[in-house]
């Protein structure tokens, strides 16, 4: 929503829910609130504002500033209203002469050690200390600045996004508590006592500390002590637009605070359904890429990838692309072309793209980047439960007693949810981590995993089988639930299978590399520990048996009745912002929007009628099929929107060979990404700040994306696709993204009740949203599964064919880190590079010593697919025999070494298991040298195009 910047009401202390209600009187007003509510909160509910500095409703009460004192009839003294709970019949006064006197004295002391530079202060007009000085009527400070004070304390500007000015600190501890309670990192502390007390990041400065730059401390600071550098540079913003983050699958809601069309800062929305006012370093700070100088804003075309680009008008570019598509389909047939959508696109963009491919080009050759991440989730959950989506809300974790994290790293990949999970763990929930690597959750401040099942990469199915064996053979199955909710026959077949001795933890222990007793104990905890929820990520899906593991997880949840209520469930942590949505919108080659198979006559008829074109009943090609087919000479053109398959897909040389084999590659993106270097047509894209639409996060939450600035390229992305469709003889009559969402709702039962109007009213909504569930469906499968009865599947462990041997004795597994995002196209163009300037290869000290590798050495990594070189990071986070890297930088060539192995059901690549050898080297690999030459040439082609255009 577009508003002047109105501060949210701060109730001072968190809301408390209780069935027992208490009635009291505050300043003569009767108010009834839940038992346990603070007097301060109750006063705010009654419309009475109590002065405060150390209190804010995102943090537990602390009672240090002494401004919120009140008088209570019949009680002695002046209790702090933030730490005093309500009681039946209390009569409270918040304003008396005595209270005014105390408060004025307190404020006078604060201000006596605070610079009086309000007029030139960056938070002038946006400062709680300033507000309180006004509220208590402070008119003079009698103490002067002659005595000892903190006014000359040095600023810490080490963090690229915010600064710490201790001279303005009032030591209210809100930053320290935010770091602990909201983020859960415990990076800050109050150092020293009395006058020497000061906020400290533990070491010399913020940058070198444990701080993860989530911004919670900046958000909590009531003064200008912790403040965004962008506000220091540009002043306070003047209006705000609520939109949705374009990074990970958490889908945080943000208030883009603006000056005209310039973003000044992104503030996590207090009412955000997924994030509740919290953020991470990416969403909060790393949005500068939207205005980065690398943005290409003028369309370009060329005949060959070895030619320089020519900048052209939009009309020329569209006409050229349409001409090439028509020529190629005329010459090679309609199946010679396809499209790829991206999770970085809005739902509306994905929908329009797949509509173009299916209705205008007449083929189902459309796929999306979920192919390389969560396609096994879509398949596995559809088969077992009936819907290709997670079962819960993020908030559900707060009712979990046992949390299983398998093949996921929430604190890095889904940081805002990771913080929420850590809150629940600090409250006492048990934690089972199943991961080859010691992710942060295994051991971090005040969080320690009860079990870390450090299995060998590629053995997920064996682990699920072993846990299932324990549950089946030790009488831990909830048979009543299974009888009522599941297909009994499929259950019996599954139970017989997992009960076989070959599936026991003892039989599989060696394969897993995990002691049998640990597996047994973890399985017992999952089955008997109360509400148990499984969270999983790409460490589950990106395997040759990714779909099998997903089905195995669903089996476990059904067998133990951990589905259909809060606190439990099967929870895929979707990687990118709109992976769920891009799949929902029909960008898989076998499905129309809403996961309906293309061979379903009724569904096809529905879309044929709406779109006015005949539609194919045959599944189209998946991305790897398109690439194979291109190399075979049958697939000739690709329309790739927002995706960078050269960097993100496995076996880079295979991908580039396929692209080189095509006659027309059309890329629509913000930047000349790696795929665009092989393109013939470049359509400039719009950033998430420049368009309207919706994203759907990992909990099925549809959230609005709102345009806060004019697209630098001239058009929102759906408009570009619509122009291409029109040039191909199929006008799309949309005036706004909301028209597209209306069409989606009209044709997709699970989206029936979704509209921009509803999103304006509710903020966000979780699908299914229909007549029966007009406000959405937070928890799925409550009374029955979407498919009716839940179906168990046999999940036999089949070791991957990607085996270690004497030549390739180590297993490489890949992942991501907090500060960078996916292929890094966005985050590499922000100051987040301060934390991760290059990809490193993590290696265990024993393996490093065997190879004479030291920290920081160049290390050659060779696999059956290729070779690359990275610098070594020696760490015990990885186990002996396993190495790990990220793929955020294209020159790293992480996917030069990953192979074509893929999931049996979906072709999701086996990124998590590649047999490799490491050796110390002194120069980059051949691929890297060739890459650099090619990349430099391609970037030069763009720069030349711009220069010529200027001439």
């Amino acid at each position: 929503m577009n508003n002047a910047i109105n501060k949210d009401i701060d109730f001072g202390t968190p809301v408390v829910e209780s069935d027992k209600k208490i009635t009291l009187e505050i300043d003569g007003t009767q108010i009834t609130v839940s038992e346990g509510t603070s007097i301060m909160h109750a006063a705010m509910v009654a419309g009475v504002t109590v002065p405060k500095l150390c209190a804010t409703d995102s943090l537990d009460p602390y009672g240090s500033c002494r401004l919120c004192l009140v008088e209570i009839e019949g009680r002695r003294g002046y209790p702090a209203s933030c730490t005093t709970p309500v009681a039946e019949g209390l009569k409270v006064k918040t304003q008396t002469p005595k209270l005014a006197d105390i408060r004025k004295g307190v404020m006078e002391l604060y201000i006596s050690d605070h610079p009086l530079d309000c007029l030139t202060c960056a938070t002038n007009g946006d400062c709680e200390l300033q507000d309180m000085a006004g509220a208590v009527g402070l008119r003079e400070v009698r103490y002067g600045y002659d005595g000892e004070n903190h006014l000359k304390s040095e600023k810490d500007t080490s963090n690229p996004y915010f600064q710490f000015d201790p001279s303005k600190c009032i030591v209210c501890s809100r930053c320290v508590r935010a770091c602990e309670e909201v983020q859960g990192t415990f990076a800050l502390t109050i150092q020293g006592r009395g006058f020497e007390s000061k906020v400290a990041p533990g070491v010399e400065n913020f940058m070198d500390s444990e701080c993860v730059s989530c911004g919670a401390c900046v958000q909590a600071c009531p003064t200008a002590t912790l403040i965004e550098k962008s506000v220091v540079d540009h002043g306070v913003p003047e209006h705000s637009v609520t939109t949705t983050c374009a990074y990970c699958g958490v889908g945080c809601s943000f208030d883009a605070q603006m000056k005209g069309e310039e973003v000044i800062r992104m503030i996590p929305s207090k009412n955000g359904g997924a994030n509740h006012g919290h953020s991470c370093v990416k969403g909060r700070f790393a949005w500068g890429y939207a205005t980065h100088q690398d943005r290409i804003t003028t369309p370009m075309i060329r005949k060959s990838i070895h030619d320089a680009w020519t900048e052209v008008s939009w009309d020329e570019a569209i006409k050229y692309a349409a001409g090439e598509i028509t020529r190629i389909q005329g010459k090679y047939g309609k199946e010679a072309i396809g499209g790829i959508t991206s999770s970085r696109c809005t739902n509306e963009e994905v929908y329009v793209t797949q509509k173009l491919i299916r209705a205008v080009l007449g083929t189902n050759n459309v796929d999306t980047c979920a192919r390389v991440c969560h396609s096994p989730t879509g398949y596995g959950l559809k088969q077992t439960l009936g819907e290709s989506a997670g079962t819960q809300t993020f908030d559900s974790v707060m009712k979990s007693d046992v949390i299983v994290v398998m093949g996921a790293n929430p604190t890095d990949g889904h940081p805002v949810f990771g913080s929420q999970m850590k809150r629940r763990l600090r409250e006492g929930a048990k934690l089972i981590v199943i991961d080859p690597r010691a992710i942060d959750l295994v051991s971090s401040p005040h969080v320690k995993a009860d079990f870390h099942l450090k299995l060998r990469p590629g053995t997920n199915v064996a682990m699920i089988a072993a846990m299932s064996h324990v549950i089946a053979t030790e009488g831990l199955i909830d048979e009543a639930f299974v009888k009522e909710r599941c297909e009994w026959d499929s259950f019996q077949v599954w139970r017989d299978f997992v009960s076989k001795p070959q599936n026991s933890p003892e039989a599989l222990s060696e394969e897993l590399g995990v002691p049998a007793e640990e597996v047994r104990a973890a399985a017992r905890l999952y089955a008997t520990g109360g509400n148990a929820a499984i969270y999983y990520g790409l460490g589950v899906t990106e395997h040759s048996q990714g779909s099998t593991t997903v089905m195995g997880i669903a089996n476990l949840a059904m067998a133990t009745a951990n589905l259909g209520r809060e606190g439990v469930g099967v929870n895929p942590l979707r990687g990118q912002n709109n992976v769920q949505g891009s799949c929902d919108m029909g960008s898989m080659p076998h499905e129309f929007p809403g996961y309906r198979h293309v061979s379903d006559d009724a569904t096809r008829a529905l879309f044929q009628t709406a779109w006015g074109r005949p539609l194919s009943s045959e599944p189209g090609l998946r991305i790897p099929n398109m690439l194979d087919s291109a190399i075979e000479g049958n697939f000739k053109a690709l329309y790739c929107v927002g995706e960078d398959i050269v960097q993100s897909d496995p076996n880079t040389q295979h991908v580039t060979h396929a692209l080189e084999s095509m006659e027309c590659v059309i890329v629509q993106d913000l930047f000349l990404n790696e795929t665009a270097m092989y393109a013939h047509v470049f359509f400039p894209g719009a950033s998430f700040l420049e368009k309207s639409g919706t994203f759907t996060n990992a909990e099925r939450r549809i959230s609005p994306v709102r345009r806060v600035m004019t697209p630098k390229n001239g058009f929102e992305d759906w408009e570009v696709t619509a122009k291409l469709a029109e040039a191909l003889g199929y006008p799309m009559h949309y005036n706004h993204a909301s028209d597209i969402l209306d069409e989606i709702a009209a044709l997709t039962p699970t989206f029936k009740g979704v509209s921009f109007k509803k999103l304006d009213e509710l903020g966000s909504v979780q699908w299914p949203c229909d007549d029966a569930n007009p406000a959405g469906t937070p928890t799925m499968h409550i009374d029955e599964f979407v498919r009716g009865k839940g179906k168990f599947f046999i999940t036999e462990y089949v070791p991957t064919t990607e085996k270690v041997n004497a030549k390739y004795p180590l297993i490489l597994t890949t992942g991501r880190i907090l500060s960078q995002y996916n292929v890094g196209a966005q985050t590499r163009r922000t100051n987040n590079t301060a934390w991760h300037a290059e990809d490193l290869i993590e290696i265990h000290p024993h393996d490093a010593e065997d190879r004479g590798i030291n920290e920081g050495d160049w290390v050659g990594i060779t696999s059956r697919a290729g070779e690359t070189v990275l610098r070594a990071k020696i760490t015990e986070r990885v186990q002996p025999g396993v190495v790990y890297t990220t793929f955020h930088h294209p020159e790293s060539g992480a996917n030069v070494i990953t192979t074509d192995n893929s999931d049996w059901a979906t072709n999701c690549p086996e990124f998590k298991v590649t047999a490799v050898q490491l050796n110390k080297v002194s120069q980059l690999s051949d691929w890297q040298r060739q890459y650099k030459a090619f990349s430099d040439e391609q970037i030069g082609f763009v720069q030349n195009a711009k220069s010529e255009a200027k001439i």
Partner: protein
């Protein structure tokens, strides 16, 4: 399409379903999976391979599945 890739993919599908005790059902499931998720040209190429090369490289259960239910794939 590279036939070696198709053979590998078909064998992976066969490996998943062959663990079911009902072999006849497993063969139907193999064919139905391929029908629902593979493009027509890939299916035709696999059928052709079975016809021309007796399904060389294919797991027995996959070969049998295509021989018995191949009509569903065309």
């Amino acid at each position: 399409m590279n036939i070696e890739h198709l053979i590998t993919m078909a064998n992976q599908i066969g490996t998943f379903f062959k663990s079911y005790p009902d072999a006849d059902q497993a063969k139907k499931d193999i064919v139905m999976h391929i029908k629902r998720f593979w493009a027509l040209q890939m299916r035709l190429q696999l059928i052709e391979h079975v016809k021309q090369h007796q399904g060389e490289g294919l797991e027995v259960i996959v070969k049998e599945a295509i021989n018995e239910h191949g009509a569903l794939l065309a």
